[in-house]
Symmetry: none
Subunit: 196 residues, 4 copies
Amino acid sequence: MRKLDPIKHEGKRQEIIAAAMRCFIRDGFRGASTSDICAESRISPGNLYHYFESKEAILKTAGEVALAAAAFRFRRILEGPDVISALISEIEQAKSRIERGGRLLLLDIFAESGRNPAIAQILHEASRTIIGLIAEFVRRGQAQGKVNKDLDPDVTASVLLGIADGARLMSMREPKLDTAKSLEYLKLVVIRFLTP
Amino acid sequence: MRKLDPIKHEGKRQEIIAAAMRCFIRDGFRGASTSDICAESRISPGNLYHYFESKEAILKTAGEVALAAAAFRFRRILEGPDVISALISEIEQAKSRIERGGRLLLLDIFAESGRNPAIAQILHEASRTIIGLIAEFVRRGQAQGKVNKDLDPDVTASVLLGIADGARLMSMREPKLDTAKSLEYLKLVVIRFLTP
Amino acid sequence: MRKLDPIKHEGKRQEIIAAAMRCFIRDGFRGASTSDICAESRISPGNLYHYFESKEAILKTAGEVALAAAAFRFRRILEGPDVISALISEIEQAKSRIERGGRLLLLDIFAESGRNPAIAQILHEASRTIIGLIAEFVRRGQAQGKVNKDLDPDVTASVLLGIADGARLMSMREPKLDTAKSLEYLKLVVIRFLTP
Amino acid sequence: MRKLDPIKHEGKRQEIIAAAMRCFIRDGFRGASTSDICAESRISPGNLYHYFESKEAILKTAGEVALAAAAFRFRRILEGPDVISALISEIEQAKSRIERGGRLLLLDIFAESGRNPAIAQILHEASRTIIGLIAEFVRRGQAQGKVNKDLDPDVTASVLLGIADGARLMSMREPKLDTAKSLEYLKLVVIRFLTP
DNA sequence: CATGAATGAGCTTTCATTCAT
DNA sequence: CATGAATGAAAGCTCATTCAT
């Protein structure tokens, strides 16, 4: 597993992970087979193991990438000046067509983390990062006087993330849901929760 | 699949489903094998197929049962006089130790429903039932003047269910979360959302 | 792995072991594959695992059977009245055409036992049995005055078994060896060792 | 397989063989993989094939080296003045801790030679060499009047080598064997066999 | 010479399912 | 109804070997 050209090696690893994520979205963490991943990334079964030492390792890495992507999205969104509309826009994006794959992957991560400690740990770490970002945001809002100063930033962040996660599930429960209206209500929920 | 004694037959079916659910909780929808289910319900593999025509059928039935149980729980909870504290108590229970299995199963159902239309349909139907119950509750609250009359009961119910689902995920993201405090905040979220 | 008809089940197990031993003789313990064994015993790969829980288990059982057969042969041979010629006839048989398979298997057992503790233990137990038989024989010879009474029966038995094992290797080292003459010499070795 | 610097090339070949022998002792002829050998000799898989054209060739060469080492040991031992004690000391060494690896390798060679003609031939040639050495020794003993002149030196040598091989197997059959006593008995066997 | 990437057949084992009794 | 035998495809993974650089 040493590499002559580490950059090329890392590039191929990422290609494989991208292919694997497509497979996982299509068939699930457990439903996708290593040979599916090989076919999707056009490599031989033997070669896969030059890049990952087991399917488990692929799964872990894919989980990390998916969660890192989520954190990255949060970071960008929370850069905006206005707390609440930033949060809402995250929920909004979660409903977009493109995000469907990410949502499925996230669900697999949740389901897997209930039985697979390695995945659970990855989820915990990513969650702590994201909650940290949101908490920071809440603090900023409090400083600006836009957020109720009685709220503990960390717990508030957890609850807000929970609301965002729950919103993601809404469209799985009800595909015909009136998205605009439910978004409006979610906005209301968040605003009423946070405003002083 | 002919049944000599329909009652006995149905009893055995339920025993098998109960065993299957234990397996699914332990190992996941995809991770549990038919022979696990056979071992857990102490029947032979041949006999399993006298009661269910495929693993898929077991999965569907188990999904239905799990969702029916959730709906039943909601029904009981919503029987109480006070809207908000009823909802909160549901969320509270969701955090209890006993509910861990149910939560894992629900996650599997969500993940599975993204790829399996049969499971998706079961989830939709169950969700509609539950949302109907909550909507009815919201309406009652509005009649009592305890709930903001501007809120559409159905959308409100969807959002409340989303919040409850999201709350369930919170403890998977952060096992060390301060449960009491986050519950208190969730109560706040719901109260501020609903009160006129 | 429970059985409806334990006798039939055991019968099939023995058929499989017989087939496996043919494979092991042909290709070695490590060189024979489970699918070779399936082909030789005309069963499907899945079915093999109704009878043995792993290839390792097949290997162990085959080792036990081969060593039990050796012990059985010793027992029969040592039933004769004359100690020394009985021992020699065992060595004689070891050179026969038929015994070639058994010798190869025994070599595999020896080689395997150097790395596989389970096989090592089987070898030790079988050896203790055989040495016990030979020791008993030596004692009888001592009682008859035909064997030197100064010899410790157990150590003597070990050494005699070693000589028999070594004789088996002779024809592997030198396939063109003058069998008759070398047997005569071996007889001489044993006689001179044992006679008072 | 062209060699730029034949001396360096040969040196590397020997390094690889030494590494391969460590692997073979550890895991057996069939159990050791080419990548084990690469790891042990710290070269790349591609490079391995610059020095040996196949695993089979490595196996053959390792077999030759192991047998040459055995012959060398015999040569040194048989240089001593006294026939019998020389032979005994060879058996003695065979029991020593250090020789365990060599014994395992020899067993693998025996087992392999039953199925692999190339290895069989190497074994035959090495055996002929060793037997020649011993036969020469026997002749010397006969000239000295210390060995029975009726014995055919070649057959005697074969039998003596067989006894030495058998002695090596004794400690595999019975790891708890009283080594000192069994050695004493082996000495007795050889002395009584050879003395006029 | 040397590297590590790449191959594809093959390994042991498990799976959902069907069959004979 | 119930059993356990039987199936054969597919799983994850390793192997000896070859290729491109």
